[in-house]
């Protein structure tokens, strides 16, 4: 819960009325030279950001014996999947993978559902309690869960959710980001649409379920991707909540390999790369929903 919705009101409408086109700065002046220098700078930076991942992933394909053999080579001599196999089979990693998937999918579904309902109510209704709750949600953005680790742990324990997936899932469902994203979206839906449905005699919840929910599909997808990512990458909360190794998540599994006396780099690299796959795959498929999203409203949780 670390969000703020500041950027939205600030950015909304800012300059948009004037033009949506990219700024074409200094068009024509010194054309080719600028193109070359801009492209060079861009790709130098891209290498700076891309090479660490490339080196890491390619290293994972090296046989364990080659990991530290000098001279270091970027591309493995004889690539092997043995590191991945060892990681997958060792220390219940496949179980962790399944656990994390279950947690992420359930949390994501609940987050999207709850945020959609709340966002719609905040956008299309007007009463005192909604205003109070809106301020409450804003407050959650100021207090990240890290600040309340100990008391939150006690609450979840006292609810009898310690060492259960529910203990990880439920506290994560309410996200300010999600509510704000949906609120923002529903504000752009004309009120006339709701009025027309009311005149036709539709009941309030039916309007929401039949008209508004289908309209908000793109936002749902965006939030689903973000939510899945947050939960997949969570570390500290599952670490506190889970006691039973059979319930561990991938991140705890990886950290336990790092924490071992002697790091087994072959297994660690394999496990880390495997853990990256779902997110990268989802991102590459649904790229435009993340990159194009009005992510100003939806900040990291």
């Amino acid at each position: 819960m670390t969000t703020t919705d500041m950027p939205r009101p600030v950015d909304a409408g800012r300059g948009r009325a004037v033009s949506k086109k990219r700024p074409r700065r200094g068009a024509g002046s010194g054309g080719i030279r600028r193109a070359v220098s801009a492209t060079t700078l861009l790709w130098l930076l891209a290498c700076l950001y891309g090479l660490p991942v490339l080196w890491f992933v390619l290293s994972a394909f090296k046989p364990a014996g080659d990991l530290f053999s000098y001279p270091l080579t970027l591309v493995p001599h004889d690539p092997t999947l043995s590191g991945f196999k060892a990681a997958w089979e060792s220390a219940n990693f496949s179980q962790y993978f399944i656990n994390t998937t279950i947690v992420c999918v359930i949390t994501t579904i609940l987050t999207v559902g709850a945020s959609c309902c709340t966002g719609y109510a905040l956008a299309k209704y007007d009463n005192r309690w909604l205003k109070v709750f809106f301020i409450g949600i804003l407050a959650t953005t100021m207090l990240p869960s890290e600040v309340m680790l100990a008391p939150e742990f006690l609450v979840v324990r006292d609810l009898g959710l310690y060492n259960s997936f529910a203990g990880i899932i439920l506290p994560a469902v309410l996200t300010a980001t999600g509510c704000f994203m949906f609120r923002q979206f529903f504000l752009t839906v004309p009120d006339e649409l709701v009025e027309a449905a009311r005149i036709d005699g539709a009941r309030e919840l039916a309007i929401f379920l039949r008209i508004m929910v289908p309209l908000s599909r793109p936002i749902m997808l965006t939030l689903a991707i973000l939510s899945f990512q947050w939960r997949w990458n969570d570390y500290i909360w599952p670490l506190l909540m889970l006691n039973d190794p059979d319930k561990f998540t991938v991140q705890i599994g990886i950290q336990s390999i790092v924490g071992a006396q002697n790091i087994n780099w072959s297994v660690l690299l394999g496990a880390s790369v495997i853990s990256m796959i779902p997110l990268i795959a989802i991102f590459l498929v649904f790229q435009r929903y993340v990159m194009g999203a009005d992510i100003n409203a939806g900040l990291k949780d």
């Binding site: 990219r22 700065r25 950001y49 991942v53 080196w55 299309k124 409450g136 008391p151 923002q184 570390y235």
Partner: protein, 303 residues
């Protein structure tokens, strides 16, 4: 907040107070979660910070003792000052790089920007734990790629792990690298919203690209800049997983940060009351940051 929202709505929201049940039903799930997992912990956290509660059994109210102990605890000060140092290094580094990259990515002169954008974004997808592992792998003292390259160029191995300051620096670089993609997206959106006519007018007046950046881009994206700084400050103050995976707050305990301190006292030593007090100090810092940012932001907006 609510007041300013109508900017974006097509028609101004009308009073519809006759509908009470439907909105309350819609928000009910989140209200329950809010009460259970936000209000309740916040309240008992504040209460426990004045007690010697250990997580089980009875406890006594001990007034401000926890806070007094906290301010006499050199470990706490070390964690606090390390956290502040980390924040002060991380936030500007992230800011400069993400702004630079955002500008290059939107530049019409740069070829392949859409592919490069994905490359910049991928580190943000990785979990902080994997980011830590990855940079540990790069900056290993005896085996890492970076020391190997330094060696190839005739340098001697740099103690990335055993020198406390260098080890903090590696975390700063790692976290900045990982967060660039996100800040970049915010900057790209802001830069694209700057009216083209501004640049055209500046070109006619003979302003070069640097001049245009300073006089047009930077002031126009000021609100976004503040958000980026605010979010990154908050994120830096509560950083933990990258440290854990990269060097576990090492060497020794020299880079234990606040959240790690809270975790260790609260959960490893069972001093829930004391950890709650430390949490509230962190909370006060975060709220101060947020309030300062809000004030500055408002001032910039009204200018």
């Amino acid at each position: 907040m609510t007041k300013r929202a109508p900017d974006v709505s097509v028609s101004p929201p009308r009073r519809r107070s006759k509908y009470t049940l439907a909105p309350l039903v819609l928000i009910s799930a989140n209200v329950v979660l809010f009460a259970l997992f936000f209000v309740w912990p916040a309240v008992i956290g504040l209460v426990y910070s004045f007690t010697n509660y250990t997580g089980v059994g009875a406890f006594q109210f001990i007034g401000l003792d926890n806070y007094q102990t906290l301010f006499g605890d050199s470990t706490f000060y070390d964690a606090l000052s390390r956290t502040l140092l980390y924040t002060v290094l991380f936030v500007p580094l992230n800011f400069v790089f993400s702004l630079l990259i955002a500008n290059v990515v939107v530049s019409k002169h740069a070829k392949g920007a859409s592919v490069a954008r994905v490359i910049f974004f991928i580190p943000w997808l990785l979990s902080p734990i994997v980011v830590g592992v990855l940079w540990r792998w790069l900056f290993g003292e005896n085996f890492g790629l970076v020391n190997y390259i330094i060696h190839e160029f005739g340098g001697s191995a740099v103690p990335w792990q055993s020198n406390a300051d260098l080890s903090l620096l590696v975390v700063v670089m790692a976290a900045s690298w990982a967060w660039t993609g996100f800040s970049m997206l915010l900057f790209i959106a802001a830069i694209k919203n700057v009216p083209v006519s501004y640049y055209e007018a500046a070109s006619l007046d003979g302003a070069g690209p640097w001049r245009q950046f300073i006089s047009i881009t930077l002031p126009s994206i000021a609100p976004t800049s503040f958000i980026v700084i605010l979010l990154n400050t908050i994120n830096a103050m509560k950083e933990y997983p990258v440290f854990v995976a990269l060097n576990n707050g090492g060497p020794g305990t020299s880079n234990n940060l606040l959240v790690q301190y809270i975790y260790e006292t609260g959960f490893k030593r069972g001093q829930i009351g004391y950890a709650s007090a430390a949490s509230f100090v962190l909370m006060i810092i975060l709220m101060a940051v947020a309030i300062i940012q809000l004030i500055v932001n408002r001032r910039v907006e009204n200018r």
